[in-house]
């Protein structure tokens, strides 16, 4: 398929992006474009203008301090996957990035694009929620738990642009993904993050959007061990059934992946 006619304009600054988005209500910011362009080619969306963020170097920085890893919105997945510094502080984040799509997609796709798109089967929302991140936009800061609203829906207002995502560095964390055999998106992805004081478990791929599993979080908060998850079942009532998996199987996979994620963090000799 070939996309509908569209205008392309490269933005020179974040302010310029805001200007263009304000002037063209049906404009879309274009980050890496790995989902947006693909969707436009299938004629699933038809913005009149694409505001290309590709030239905005100020959005490509990775900042790490004692508590946080902050990724500029235009940081590519490959950058995260290959970053020694990130691998040192949140290896799960680097490994999540390394599992997105394929090498070519990772060379183009961006954190900001993925988070703003909020594909229910995308990986990043799991990290954002489990790592209790803050999404910084051109106008405000949004807590992870408030950011993802529904399928492909976020708290972003028209004209608002993500500029960075600030992840909290956990004591330990792991992300495991059961790949859809065709698309390589997550059929189920489970991100477990242990902050010492609390544990966060975020699931993607299984329902209309990322969600947390409170019962698992409480159990792991009491004792961070795979056995703590014994008997905890995720209800399949709200989960997706589609060509690739029925809800019941997704629910089962969540339990299995969560256990394996925890186990990978508690097994002797394994890295934090």
């Amino acid at each position: 398929m070939f996309m509908y006619s569209v205008k392309h304009q490269r933005a020179s600054s974040v302010a310029h992006v805001c200007e263009l988005l304000a002037a063209h209500p049906d404009a879309r910011p274009l980050a890496g474009g790995q989902s947006l362009i693909a969707g436009m080619k299938l004629r699933l969306s038809a913005p009149s203008l694409l505001v290309d963020l590709g030239g905005l170097r100020e959005l490509t920085t990775i900042q790490i301090d004692a508590q946080h890893v902050t990724l500029g919105a235009m940081v590519r997945h490959a950058q995260v996957a290959q970053s020694e510094a990130i691998r040192k502080v949140i290896p799960a984040l680097a490994s999540l990035a390394k599992g997105i799509g394929d090498p070519m997609v990772r060379n183009m796709g961006t954190v900001g694009g993925s988070v703003a798109n909020n594909d229910p089967a995308a990986d990043y929302p799991a990290a954002v929620v489990a790592l209790d991140a803050v999404v910084t936009t051109t106008t405000r800061e949004i807590a992870a738990d408030d950011f993802f609203v529904g399928m492909f829906e976020t708290a972003l207002l028209p004209g608002e642009l993500i500029t960075a995502v600030k992840f909290r560095i956990p004591k330990r964390a792991a992300y495991l993904k059961f790949k859809n055999p065709a698309s390589r998106f997550a059929m189920v992805g489970v991100f477990v993050a242990d902050f010492g004081s609390a544990v966060r478990v975020a699931v993607v791929g299984a329902s209309a959007g990322v969600f947390r599993v409170a019962e698992m979080e409480r159990a792991l908060g009491r004792r961070f061990h795979a056995a703590s998850l014994d008997g905890i079942e995720v209800s399949s009532a709200e989960l997706l059934s589609d060509l690739h998996s029925q809800a019941v199987y997704r629910a089962h996979l969540i339990a299995v992946l969560a256990k394996r994620a925890v186990q990978s963090l508690t097994e002797s000799g394994s890295k934090p």
């Binding site: 398929m1 070939f2 996309m3 509908y4 006619s5 569209v6 205008k7 392309h8 490269r10 274009l30 474009g33 790995q34 362009i37 693909a38 080619k41 299938l42 694409l50 290309d52 590709g54 490959a78 290959q82 799509g101 394929d102 090498p103 070519m104 997609v105 060379n107 183009m108 065709a182 698309s183 390589r184």
Partner: protein
């Protein structure tokens, strides 16, 4: 319409094309280099893989305008300047790493990207890296072998 100018295999190519033109169509129709192929429309098959500013990308999944001012290397730019085959091309031939040849340019460009990052990959790393490249003919065995051999040849060069 937009004026798009991209350096393709060392030659500056400037064309007036619709904004919606994909990079792959700029390469195939604008630059006239048809070695880069289109095999799907959802960025799964990787037949369209080229290098943009040194990194492998799927040229069917971005606008030519996004690459404006950039530098693209395609399969036509892989062989040595004297016309002899690059080590990776020699290895693909040696190991029967191609059959119909349609996915091959994307495979080669993707493999070169891997060898840039990991000059001595294991079989498992190679197979993992080819996640974005579908081949329907070879069963991948000879492709993986080809890339391993190319790695050895390139290290020895």
């Amino acid at each position: 319409m937009a004026t798009i100018s991209i350096r393709v295999n060392g030659t500056q190519v400037t064309r007036e094309m619709e904004d919606r033109t994909l990079l792959v169509h700029f390469i195939r129709e604008g630059a006239g280099l048809t070695g880069t192929h289109v095999g799907c429309d959802t960025a799964q098959c990787g037949a369209c893989t080229v290098h943009l500013d040194g990194r492998a990308v799927k040229s069917c999944n971005q606008l030519a305008a996004q690459a404006n001012g950039g530098e693209v290397r395609t399969i036509e730019g892989v062989a040595n300047d004297d016309g002899s085959l690059h080590a990776i091309q020699v290895a693909f031939r040696q190991h029967h790493g191609l059959q119909c040849g349609y996915c091959t340019p994307g495979m080669v460009m993707s493999a070169l990207d891997l060898l840039r990052l990991h000059p001595t990959p294991t079989e498992e790393e190679i197979a993992g890296h080819l996640d974005g490249n579908l081949c329907r003919c070879t069963g991948y065995y000879n492709i993986v072998k080809s890339i391993q051999t190319a790695a050895r040849m390139m290290a020895g060069a």
